[in-house]
């Protein structure tokens, strides 16, 4: 694989769910997407338009009904185990294992990658502290607030040094000021390591702040627009950009 080759390549991907009653539901249809190495792509779109489903497909957790998906030149579903240690995910819901403490949850990825116990704890603690969770290392998920749980889930992802980062509304459950601080932590991590990163968000400011590119998805999951984000934009430019994005999303709604 050449450096110039896209890290993520989706071609005409379709995902149809079939319920037990045989009802078919198309969640993704005709999705084409390419992401280059080191790109930070923000993905926006209406609720239920298939953003999380797209992530599941990219992670190899679901098999597309048709179309082809390549990550780092490999098929994430067919070559499932090839992706060991290559993918890092912050899920939309925290998905903390209830029987593990914050620390044990944060280090689960390191356990799977067979790090030594000392390394596991050192790295996990470092991230828990960086995410402002000191004092809660031994708390079980039900003893934490929603935002704290989400941050443990972030620590779990940040502990790893994957090739590609996926973040599904990582900052959605936090108050504005915490969200901003953590976005900075995230941005620092991503830019420092030059990781390829896909980021789903409902917050267009967040998309502008972190992403260098913005992909707007329509329903069922396909690309409506794909644009560079303005850098160092003034308030007025930001507002204008936001209006444009919302217009595109709403235009799709009317047609659909």
């Amino acid at each position: 694989m050449n450096a110039a080759d896209p890290v993520v390549q989706m071609q005409d991907v379709q995902m149809v769910f079939t319920s037990v009653d045989g009802d078919r539901f198309t969640a993704v249809e005709g999705l084409d997407l390419e992401v280059g190495s080191g790109d930070v792509v923000a993905i926006v779109g209406k609720t239920g338009c298939g953003k999380s489903t797209t992530f599941n497909l990219l992670l190899g957790l679901e098999r597309p009904t048709s179309g082809s998906i390549q990550l780092l030149g490999h098929d994430p579903h067919k070559e499932f185990d090839w992706f060991r240690s290559k993918l890092g995910v912050i899920f939309q819901t925290d998905r903390l294992l209830p029987w593990r403490t914050a620390l044990e949850n944060a280090r689960v990825g390191l356990e799977i990658l067979d790090y030594s116990e000392k390394e596991q704890n050192d790295i996990a603690l470092q991230w828990l502290h960086k995410l402002e969770l000191q004092g809660f290392e031994d708390a079980y998920p039900h003893e934490l607030s929603g935002g704290m749980r989400q941050r443990v889930g972030m620590a779990r992802a940040f502990c790893l040094t994957p090739e590609i980062f996926f973040a599904d509304e990582a900052f959605g459950h936090l108050d504005q000021s915490t969200a901003r601080r953590l976005r900075e932590v995230f941005l620092e991590l991503v830019t420092e390591s030059r990781k390829t990163c896909l980021l789903i968000t409902h917050n267009i400011h967040e998309a502008l702040e972190i992403g260098s590119r913005l992909v707007i998805l329509g329903k069922p999951g396909h690309v409506l627009a794909d644009m560079e984000t303005p850098t160092n934009a003034t308030r007025a430019e930001m507002a204008e950009f936001e209006d444009r994005v919302l217009d595109i999303i709403e235009a799709n709604e009317v047609v659909g």
Partner: protein, 279 residues
């Protein structure tokens, strides 16, 4: 830990005082069950004044019979025999039931074939199994083991199956994104995820097994609580019949307590039950 350290520093007299205070507070916290049982005992005693002792023996007579059992090694042996049978039958049913439940949880084909059969078997009354066992087997212990297995295996399999099914796909996906080995997936998700179901299955089956084993022991067994109950009935010895029952219930409660203790240890991560409907 902390209270133990401070206690050892107290003088003996103070320590005893503190112990009494603790006992009182423990009793006070349990005052409702103490009152309920006290009322039952009192009512029983009053009834025994008016009814013949072979129907309603006095509390004292029952207590004497109870102490006779607990104090005598051979009689206690009967209780331990019964408990041993229950335990052995349950372990056997647990192992086979867990294997079946795990297979059902992971393989849809196995699930489709076995689930309806298990539900059907669950509908068969314990007494039917007793009758079948007498016809099919001549060896007493084989009969009892068979009856326990037939009664408890479906229960174990269904509860374990349910426990595995209830492990959220979200957790599975979270771990699968990390590409774990099969062994890692089992030890990090499936095993901890099914522990609550395992504990529930033991709680349910312990009670079931105790009821079933007594019936099984009524026929052909020369030892065990069921056999002793039968003897008491033949000789019309009501105090003994009650005392034997009490001994068995006591041992069962102790076993239940052990499970509750394990549950407390293993399920520390669960949110404490916040007062339910009854407040």
């Amino acid at each position: 830990m902390e209270s133990e350290a401070t206690r050892s520093e107290l003088s003996p007299a103070r320590a005893q005082e503190a112990w009494h205070a603790r006992l009182l507070s423990v009793l006070a916290a349990r005052k409702e069950p103490i009152i309920s049982f006290g009322v039952i005992l009192a009512a029983w005693q009053v009834a025994s004044f008016f009814l013949p002792p072979y129907l309603v023996p006095g509390v004292g007579a029952i207590l004497a019979a109870f102490i006779e059992i607990v104090a005598s090694l051979t009689l206690l042996g009967d209780v331990l025999t019964t408990m041993g049978r229950i335990f052995l039958g349950l372990v056997l049913a647990f192992i086979t039931g867990t294997i079946l439940g795990v297979f059902m949880g992971f393989t849809e084909t196995v699930e489709k074939y076995t689930l309806p059969v298990l539900h059907f078997i669950m509908g068969i009354p314990a007494l039917s199994w007793v009758v079948f066992a007498i016809i099919w087997f001549s060896h007493v212990e084989t009969r009892i083991a068979f009856i326990l297995l037939a009664g408890c295996l479906p229960n174990y399999a269904l509860i374990i199956h349910d426990g595995i099914k209830s492990i959220s796909k979200e957790y599975l996906d979270m771990l699968r994104a990390l590409r774990p080995t099969r062994k890692q997936l089992f030890s990090k998700l499936i095993l901890p995820g099914m522990i609550p179901a395992v504990l529930t299955s033991w709680k349910v089956n312990l009670g079931l097994a105790a009821r079933v084993v007594i019936v099984a022991e009524l026929v052909g067994a020369t030892r065990g609580v069921g056999n002793k109950l039968l003897l008491a009935q033949e000789l019309f010895e009501m105090p003994k019949a009650i005392a034997w029952t009490l001994v068995l219930v006591t041992f069962l409660l102790i076993s239940q307590f052990v499970i509750l203790f394990l549950e407390h240890k293993l399920l520390r991560w669960r949110p404490a039950k916040q007062g339910g409907m009854a407040t």
